[in-house]
C-alpha cells in the first residue's frame, strides 16, 4: 500500500527534523448526501476526499499539518512543517508533553454491515425518499417536506513512531424525514425518526430501511398540522416529565457526554466549547444523578457512531462507566490527558478528517436501560405530567450546568394516560438536579442506539459523529414552558 510507505516516510522525515514522536494518518472518505424537498430531488452530492495529517511532538510541544496532495515530496514538506510548528509551540510551553504509555497496536477493523449502501441502486435509494416525501404530502396543510439519507465509507491508515500500524474501514448510514406547517404566526415541525435531519448509525443500508420512513410519514405530517392549533405547553410550571429516547439521547450528549471530556475539565477547550462542572476532584465521589442513572462509555457497541477498532491516536476501543449508580466515575480521555491523571487512555481521540488534529470526542455515551418496562408502562404509572418527544431546540452553558431543551411535540399525561397534544414544549434545569430527579428508566426493550452526526468542537472547527443509546425516562419536579 503506497499510503503505508508514505506514512513511514513522513515519520522518518519528522524524526530527522527533531520530532520525538510522530504519527501519520491517511483518510479516504466517500459520502453521498441526497435530499428530497417538496416532492422533488433537491440535492445530490457525492463527495470523495483523500489526504493525510502528520502529528508530532518536538521540543516537548505539539505540531500538526495536513495536506491532500499525496506525494513523497508533499509528505516531506508537511512532516517538516509539523515539526516547525511544534518548535514554535515550544516557545510558549510550561512543561513537555507526556503521553500515557501504550503498547504499539497493529491490526485491521471493519464495520459489520448487512447491505453495502453504495451497492444499493441509486434509483432505489432515491425512490425511498421520493415515496416517503409523497406519503407526507398526502396530508393537507404542509408548507415544506423533506427527506434525506447519507451513506458514508471511510478508510483510514494510522502509523506511529512507536510502531502502530492500523487499518480501519467504517461505514455509516442515516436517514430522516420532516414535515413543516405554517399558519397564524406559528411554524411547527415534526420529524422522524429523530431531529436534525436524520439519525445515523455505523451500519449498511439495512439501517435506513428498518425505520420504514414511508409508513411513518403520514403520522408526522398530521402531527405537524395539528400542532398549529394545539394547546400551548403550560408556562413556567414544575411538573413530572417523561422524555422519549430520541430526545433523551441529546440530553445525555449535552449534559453528560461533553462534561466528561477530560480536555474540557482540564481547561483546554475553555475558549470555545467551555470547561466542565465535573472537575477532577469530583471523580469517583460526585453525585451526578439518582441511583437509577447509569451512563456508559463504550466504543465497542455495534451500530454506534463512536464504534471502532482504535481511536485516532491508536488506542484500542474500550468500555467503562461514566456514571455508575448516580456517581460520576469516568472521563473520556486521550493519552496526554490521561497521563495528567496518572491513568491510561480509554481511546476517545478522533479527528473529523485528514486535515484536523484528533480531539477527545464522545464515542458512544449511553444512558443504560432500567426496569420501568415499556414507554406505555411508564406513562401508565405516571399520574400527572407531560410527555415530550423529538428535539427542536437545545442549549447549555459552558460548564454544562444550566440547560434548556425544546421538543417538537408534547402530550399531557393525566391519570396514566396521554391527553391533549401540546405545542412548543420546553424544559430547563441544572444538570445534577435534573439527573437527580430521574426516578425511572424504561427497560432494555425500549433502548435504542441513536447517532448525532453533527457534534461541533475544536478550533478550527470539527464536526464529530457520536453515538448515544437511551430509553425513555421519567424526571420529577422539572421546570417546563418558556414560550407559548
Amino acid at each position: 500500500m503506497i499510503e503505508r510507505d508514505l506514512a513511514h516516510r513522513g515519520i522518518d522525515t519528522a524524526r530527522t527534523r527533531g520530532a520525538t514522536y510522530a504519527d501519520v494518518r491517511f483518510v479516504r472518505r466517500q459520502v453521498e448526501d441526497t435530499f428530497v424537498k417538496n416532492g422533488h430531488l433537491d440535492n445530490v452530492d457525492r463527495t470523495d476526499t483523500f489526504g493525510f495529517g502528520v502529528r508530532v511532538i518536538a521540543d516537548g510541544a505539539w505540531g500538526f499539518a495536513g495536506s491532500q496532495m499525496v506525494t513523497p515530496d508533499e509528505v516531506d514538506r508537511v512532516a517538516a512543517l509539523a515539526v516547525e510548528i511544534a518548535k514554535a509551540s515550544a516557545i510558549a510551553k510550561e512543561r513537555d508533553v507526556v503521553l500515557a504509555p501504550l503498547k504499539p497496536q497493529t491490526g485491521t477493523y471493519r464495520t459489520k454491515i448487512e447491505v453495502d449502501p453504495f451497492a444499493v441502486s441509486f434509483e432505489d435509494r432515491v425512490g425511498l425518499l421520493i415515496a416517503a416525501d409523497a406519503a407526507m404530502r398526502t396530508v393537507k396543510g404542509l408548507r415544506t417536506t423533506r427527506a434525506n439519507y447519507e451513506i458514508w465509507r471511510e478508510d483510514k491508515l494510522f502509523a506511529s513512531s512507536e510502531g502502530a500500524d492500523l487499518e480501519q474501514t467504517l461505514y455509516e448510514a442515516g436517514c430522516g424525514i420532516s414535515a413543516e406547517a405554517v399558519g397564524d404566526g406559528e411554524l411547527q415541525i415534526r420529524s422522524y425518526p429523530a431531529a436534525g435531519g436524520r439519525t445515523q448509525n455505523q451500519a449498511g443500508w439495512e439501517f435506513v430501511t428498518k425505520w420504514d420512513l414511508v409508513a411513518h410519514a403520514p403520522r408526522i405530517a398530521e402531527e405537524a398540522v395539528a400542532l398549529l392549533t394545539a394547546k400551548p405547553c403550560p408556562r413556567d410550571v414544575r411538573t413530572t416529565v417523561v422524555i422519549g429516547d430520541a430526545q433523551l439521547m441529546l440530553q445525555v450528549h449535552e449534559s453528560c457526554g461533553h462534561p466528561i471530556e477530560l480536555d474540557r475539565a482540564l481547561g483546554t477547550e475553555a475558549a470555545y466549547a467551555g470547561t466542565s462542572f465535573l472537575t477532577t476532584d469530583r471523580l469517583g465521589s460526585f453525585r451526578y444523578g439518582s441511583d437509577t442513572v447509569n451512563i456508559r462509555i463504550d466504543s465497542t457497541t455495534p451500530g454506534g457512531l463512536g464504534t471502532f477498532g482504535w481511536d485516532d491516536e491508536g488506542v484500542p476501543a474500550s468500555e467503562g462507566w461514566a456514571v455508575k449508580d448516580g456517581i460520576f466515575v469516568g472521563y473520556l480521555m486521550s493519552r496526554e490527558t490521561a497521563a495528567a491523571l496518572g491513568k491510561t487512555s480509554n481511546g476517545t481521540m478522533r479527528a473529523s478528517g485528514w486535515g484536523r488534529l484528533p480531539l477527545i470526542r464522545m464515542t458512544n455515551v449511553s444512558l443504560m436501560p432500567g426496569d420501568a418496562g415499556t414507554l406505555d408502562d411508564l406513562i401508565a404509572e405516571t399520574d400527572d405530567g407531560i410527555y415530550m418527544e423529538t428535539n427542536r431546540s437545545w442549549s447549555i452553558d459552558d460548564r454544562r450546568l444550566n440547560f434548556q431543551f425544546g421538543t417538537q411535540i408534547g402530550w399531557e399525561i393525566r391519570g396514566g394516560k396521554l391527553g391533549a397534544m401540546l405545542r412548543n414544549p420546553t424544559y430547563t434545569g441544572m444538570t445534577p438536579e435534573f439527573w437527580g430527579s430521574c426516578d425511572a428508566v424504561c427497560s432494555p426493550t425500549e433502548w435504542r442506539m441513536w447517532g448525532t452526526p453533527n457534534c461541533g468542537k475544536g478550533q478550527p472547527g470539527q464536526v464529530g459523529h457520536t453515538g448515544h443509546g437511551a430509553a425513555p425516562a421519567r424526571f420529577r419536579n422539572v421546570r417546563v414552558g418558556v414560550i407559548r
Partner: protein
C-alpha cells in the same frame, strides 16, 4: 504571489478540465481552496498548533432540469475527469426537478476592494507563536489564565461555467479570540481583519485582562426582563440569526420574520445592509454561482425592505437574483454574507451612561432557535456580564439564560454604537458581519447559572 495560494491560473486550469470532462446541457465548476493555520492556546500555553492546505472542486452538471453534483479533492487530471463523469452520470440518473431553472448566465462583475493581504498569507508559525506568547505572558503576570487562538488563512474561490462565467478572488483573514479567566470570573476579546498587521494583540490583551479583573466575584441577580447594553460580540449573534432569516428561501418556507412584511416596521431604528463591497469587511463581489453580488438594504430604520436571493430561489419565486448563493447545500441556498448593522451616534460608554438600571452583556453562548418564525432564541451570557446602575457598571453578575425574540428585542432599540466590529465566521453561516454595540429597552433573562 504568496506561496500559500493555489493561484488563479491553477484554479482556472482545474475548472477548465472539469468543464471539458462533463457531458450535459450545462456545467459549473466551483473551487474552494485555502491554507489555514491556527495557533491555539489554553492554560497559558500553546497546546494545539495546526496547518492544513486544502482545495475542493464541486462540479454541477445539468441535463434539462436534472442536476448532478460531485465534490472531490483529487485535483489531478484523472480525479477531475472522474468527478466530471460522475456528475454527468448523476444528472442523467436523477428525476426531473421542475423547480430548477438552470445555471445562471454570465453577468458583468464590478471589481471589488482587495481582500487579500500578503503579510497575512505569509505569516509563519513563529510569527503567530510570538504574538500569542506576549498575550500569555501578560495574563500570567496578572495571575490570570488565557485560552483562545490566533489564526491566519489564505482562501480562494473560483467559479466557471459553460454559460461563460469566470470569477476568481483571493482573500485573507487573521483572527484572534481569547477568554481570560481569573479566580472567579472570565472575560472575552476578539478581533478579525484581512490584515494581520491591523490586529493589535496588545489591545486585545488589555481589553480581556481589564474586563476579567472587573468580572471577578459575580453576584446573584434575579432573572427577569432588563434593559441591556450588548457589546458587539453579543450583537453579532443577533445579526447572524436575523440575517439567516433575511433570505428568499426563508420567506418561501414561511420561517422568516419579514415574510409578508416588506415595507412594514419589524424592528426599532436599526438598519441592516448586505454590502459585498464593504472594504472593512472581507469583500467578495460575486457569489458561489459566479453572479455579481448586489448591495441590498434589508432593513432600513426598522422597515423590512428586501431579502437576498440565489438563482434557484429567484427562479422558484419569480424574484430577481441578488447574487447571494452559497455553495449548493440543502439547508440554505442564499445568505447575507456581508451583513452590516449601520453605526449609530453613541459611543459604547455613552450607551452605558444612559442606562439607569440594566445589564451589560459581553457575549452570548450556545444560542439556538426556540421558534424561528418568531425569532425566539435561547442561549447563555458568558465572559463578562455586569449590572449597570445609574450609568455606571456596578458589579459583575452571574450568567443568565435568556429566551428572547431577537427582532422584538431590536424593537426596543434605544441606541446604537458608533464603532463596528468585524466578525468573520459564524457557527452556522458563511461570510462576515460588522456590528456595533446596542442599547435595547427589554431583554428576557429566563434563568441563571452558578457562576
Amino acid at each position: 504571489m504568496s506561496a500559500r495560494l493555489w493561484t488563479e491560473a491553477e484554479l482556472r486550469r482545474i475548472c477548465d478540465l472539469a468543464l471539458q470532462g462533463t457531458n450535459g446541457d450545462q456545467a459549473e465548476a466551483l473551487v474552494l481552496a485555502s491554507t489555514n493555520e491556527l495557533t491555539r492556546f489554553a492554560n497559558n500555553v500553546i497546546h494545539q498548533n495546526v496547518a492544513s492546505r486544502e482545495a475542493v472542486l464541486r462540479i454541477r452538471v445539468v441535463i434539462g432540469n436534472r442536476v448532478g453534483m460531485v465534490t472531490t479533492n483529487d485535483l489531478g487530471q484523472e480525479g477531475i475527469a472522474r468527478a466530471a463523469k460522475g456528475a454527468s452520470e448523476v444528472a442523467r440518473a436523477v428525476p426531473e426537478n421542475p423547480t430548477f431553472g438552470g445555471l445562471p448566465a454570465a453577468r458583468p462583475i464590478p471589481p471589488g476592494p482587495p481582500a487579500f493581504v500578503e503579510a497575512t498569507a505569509a505569516a509563519t508559525p513563529l510569527d503567530r507563536a510570538k504574538r500569542v506568547q506576549r498575550l500569555l505572558r501578560r495574563a500570567r503576570e496578572r495571575k490570570m489564565t488565557a485560552a483562545g487562538y490566533l489564526s491566519t488563512s489564505a482562501s480562494e474561490v473560483a467559479v466557471a461555467s459553460t454559460e461563460g462565467i469566470w470569477a476568481y478572488a483571493p482573500s485573507t483573514l487573521a483572527a484572534i479570540e481569547t477568554v481570560v479567566t481569573g479566580g472567579a470570573g472570565t472575560a472575552w476579546a476578539e478581533r478579525n481583519a484581512t490584515d494581520l498587521g491591523k490586529i493589535d494583540v496588545d489591545e486585545v490583551t488589555r481589553e480581556a485582562i481589564g474586563k476579567c479583573a472587573a468580572a471577578q466575584g459575580p453576584r446573584d441577580l434575579a432573572p427577569g426582563t432588563y434593559e441591556v447594553v450588548l457589546e458587539p460580540y453579543a450583537g453579532a449573534d443577533i445579526a447572524q440569526f436575523l440575517g439567516s432569516a433575511l433570505t428568499g428561501q426563508a420567506v418561501e418556507e414561511g420561517r422568516s420574520f419579514v415574510g409578508g412584511k416588506l415595507g412594514h416596521k419589524v424592528t426599532g431604528d436599526v438598519t441592516f445592509v448586505d454590502d459585498p463591497y464593504d472594504p472593512a469587511s472581507v469583500p467578495l463581489p460575486f457569489d458561489f454561482e459566479g453572479q455579481p453580488s448586489q448591495t441590498v438594504r434589508l432593513i432600513e430604520q426598522g422597515v423590512a425592505r428586501a431579502v437576498v436571493y440565489d438563482s434557484r430561489t429567484a427562479f422558484r419565486t419569480g424574484s430577481a437574483n441578488t447574487g447571494h448563493a452559497v455553495p449548493a447545500n440543502p439547508f440554505a441556498s442564499a445568505s447575507a454574507m456581508h451583513l452590516r448593522i449601520e453605526p449609530g451616534n453613541k459611543t459604547r460608554e455613552q450607551l452605558i451612561r444612559e442606562v439607569d438600571r440594566g445589564v451589560l452583556v459581553t457575549r452570548f453562548h450556545y444560542t439556538r432557535w426556540v421558534h424561528q418564525l418568531r425569532t425566539i432564541v435561547t442561549g447563555m451570557t458568558r465572559d463578562g456580564t455586569f449590572l449597570i446602575e445609574k450609568g455606571e457598571i456596578a458589579h459583575p453578575v452571574k450568567n443568565f439564560r435568556f429566551t428572547q425574540s431577537y427582532h422584538d428585542a431590536l424593537g426596543g432599540t434605544l441606541g446604537v454604537g458608533t464603532d463596528l466590529h468585524l466578525f468573520a465566521a459564524g457557527e452556522f453561516s458563511f461570510g462576515a458581519r460588522r456590528v456595533p454595540a446596542m442599547r435595547l429597552a427589554q431583554f428576557a433573562f429566563t434563568g441563571s447559572t452558578q457562576y
